[in-house]
């Protein structure tokens, strides 16, 4: 049976560095398929979709809300040709009711151990409209190595530099953060993968640089330390979300190859300043993630925060505007108060205001967001700051003998396309 697996494209935010990382969800899903399913994968963000390619069934994997409308359009086109279409992934779960209108079947929940039945039903002509496993997570030990063999590697390469591979060591989250839907999607219980399996999976990845995409590694200190300890011999270098603020953990993380972390910067406190410094003390870079538009933020608060960011030695900063995704408390609050004015899912990109902020107009919030990007990267561009981080990791790789020079054959290619040397490099790094 031939399955066409598609990851729909979405519009990237203007003015920001465009990275096309190899997507994680589709290849994790592909690993759960029965052996007789022959998969052909297209990531529309890096290549065109050939709808004439023969297939028996289409599976559309969606992670972002900004992918859903494109995913639905693809599905409509395939279904018009008589080819059945299934949907799965994070934003399928967040937008399940709407997605159903464009699908022969939607899969809600985690795929491990469940696809044999789905494909048996498909072959027997009794595919269910909904496979609902919400709230019924499979045994985490069933999570196997992702099907990274499906990637067309040369498409995730910028001027000869291979992009990081995505990897996950756990699912679920014990936190319940205001703008986040993870606890709805993956459960409110932190579920770490067995460390031996995690390490075995990591060993299969032919890439020294990774992005560990777990929601937060700082959920179980002992597990976190055990994981880092076992990772040390692999000599991988990696990016992750927050790491536990503990000297012992930070030391092990650094030894295990922590390259830089995403750290939320939500106020101008000494705690944040010290937190950033502590990462740096262990040689770990910090990309600040700054969310604008919360009800406790006035214009002055945002301006103060931007000034603060310029003083705390962040390696990078990423600014976002609150997007009230379904199944978050932010959505509940704003919906109840009738403050959401834009319901076009393409605009839920965390760079566009879709609701009425409490202390300013939507236009003013949008201006402050644009100002934050330009102020932070005024003296040193995003590309220049990224280059420093890359230099840092290259030096570390040279020290431990894992450095791989860039692929000269791809020096004039960026994500599968020819590099336009006449253009600014701002969007190309």
């Amino acid at each position: 049976m031939k399955l066409k697996l598609i990851y729909p494209r979405w519009k990237k935010l203007p003015g920001q560095t465009t990275f096309n990382l190899p997507p994680h969800g589709p290849v994790v899903f592909a690993a759960t398929l029965p052996e007789y399913v022959d998969v052909s994968f297209t990531d529309e963000n890096v290549e065109d979709l050939n709808m004439d390619e023969e297939c028996d069934v289409v599976a559309i994997s969606m992670m972002l809300t900004t992918q859903v409308k494109r995913g639905w359009a693809i599905a409509d086109a395939y279904r018009a040709k008589g080819i059945p279409v299934m949907f799965g992934g994070i934003s399928t779960m967040l937008h399940a009711e709407e997605t159903l209108q464009h699908a022969d079947s939607i899969f809600l929940g985690e795929a491990e151990g469940r696809q044999e039945q789905v494909f048996k039903d498909l072959q027997n002509g009794c595919l269910k409209k909904v496979y609902n496993y919400m709230g019924h997570q499979p045994d985490i030990a069933l999570v196997g190595p992702a099907r990274r063999d499906l990637y067309k590697r040369e498409l995730y390469n910028h001027k000869g530099v291979q992009m990081v591979d995505l990897f996950h060591a756990s699912r679920g989250c014990r936190f319940s953060c205001y703008p986040c839907a993870v606890s709805y999607l993956g459960g409110r219980c932190f579920r770490p993968r067995p460390i031996d399996q995690t390490i075995a999976d990591l060993e299969t990845i032919d890439n020294n640089r990774l992005f560990i995409v777990d929601n937060s590694l700082a959920q179980n200190k002992q597990w976190e330390m055990d994981l880092f300890r076992e990772m040390i011999p692999l000599k991988k270098k990696w990016i992750s979300h927050t790491i536990e603020d503990d000297p012992q953990v930070l030391d092990l993380a650094a030894q295990a190859g922590a390259w830089y972390v995403y750290q939320a910067v939500y106020d101008t406190s000494d705690y944040i300043k010290e937190r950033v410094k502590r990462y740096h003390d262990y040689g770990i870079g910090v990309e600040g993630t700054i969310l604008f538009g919360l009800d406790n933020q006035t214009e002055d608060d945002i301006l103060r925060l931007i000034d603060f960011l310029l003083k705390i030695d962040l390696d990078l900063a990423e600014f976002t505007i609150l997007a009230p995704f379904p199944h978050t408390k932010a959505y509940d609050d704003l919906m109840r108060q009738g403050r959401i004015f834009d319901h076009d899912w393409d605009h839920y990109n965390a760079g566009q205001v879709v609701y009425k902020p409490k202390h300013m107009s939507p236009e003013r919030l949008q201006e402050l967001y644009e100002y934050a990007w330009s102020a932070f990267y005024h003296d040193e561009t995003q590309e220049e700051k990224m280059f420093k981080l890359f230099t840092n990791v290259m030096l570390r790789e040279m020290e431990d003998g894992t450095y791989r020079p860039r692929d000269r054959k791809l020096a004039n290619k960026s994500f599968g396309k020819d590099v336009d040397r006449s253009k600014s490099h701002f969007n190309e790094f």
Partner: protein
């Protein structure tokens, strides 16, 4: 972020979106000939759908199980004070009004109650 027990008389388990096992706090107050149903969001203690997202379905499930007339209750959603440092988790209560179509509440609208209004109900 434990929700104080003062907010509810019982934990009400309900079927959330896509039948996800879900739970909320439930308090029933009979006062001046009126029946007030107050549901409280339990955050981390709620394994499934929020009370707001469950909306009309939750109201129906409560009325069905408690033998209440869906047209004759005053339904209130409560975001409890969880003593969080974040103001988003301060106490807020909303009176929810709705139409009933085929036995299920639809077109829900929310009005935030003032402290005085809440006091009158709970005292």
């Amino acid at each position: 972020m434990k929700v104080p027990e003062k907010y509810y008389d019982e934990i009400f388990e309900f079927a959330g979106q896509w039948d996800m096992p879900s739970a909320c706090g439930l308090k029933t107050i009979h006062k001046d000939g009126k029946t007030y149903i107050i549901t409280t969001e339990l955050y981390q203690e709620n394994p499934g759908t929020s009370i707001t997202y469950a909306g009309g379905s939750l109201i129906k499930q409560i009325c069905d199980r408690k033998n209440l007339d869906i047209r004759n209750i005053i339904y209130i959603e409560c975001n409890p004070n969880t003593n969080s440092k974040l103001s988003f988790y301060d106490e807020e209560m909303f009176e929810v009004t709705y139409q009933v179509e085929e036995g299920t509440p639809t077109n829900l609208t929310y009005r935030q109650l003032s402290k005085e209004e809440i006091q009158i109900i709970v005292d």
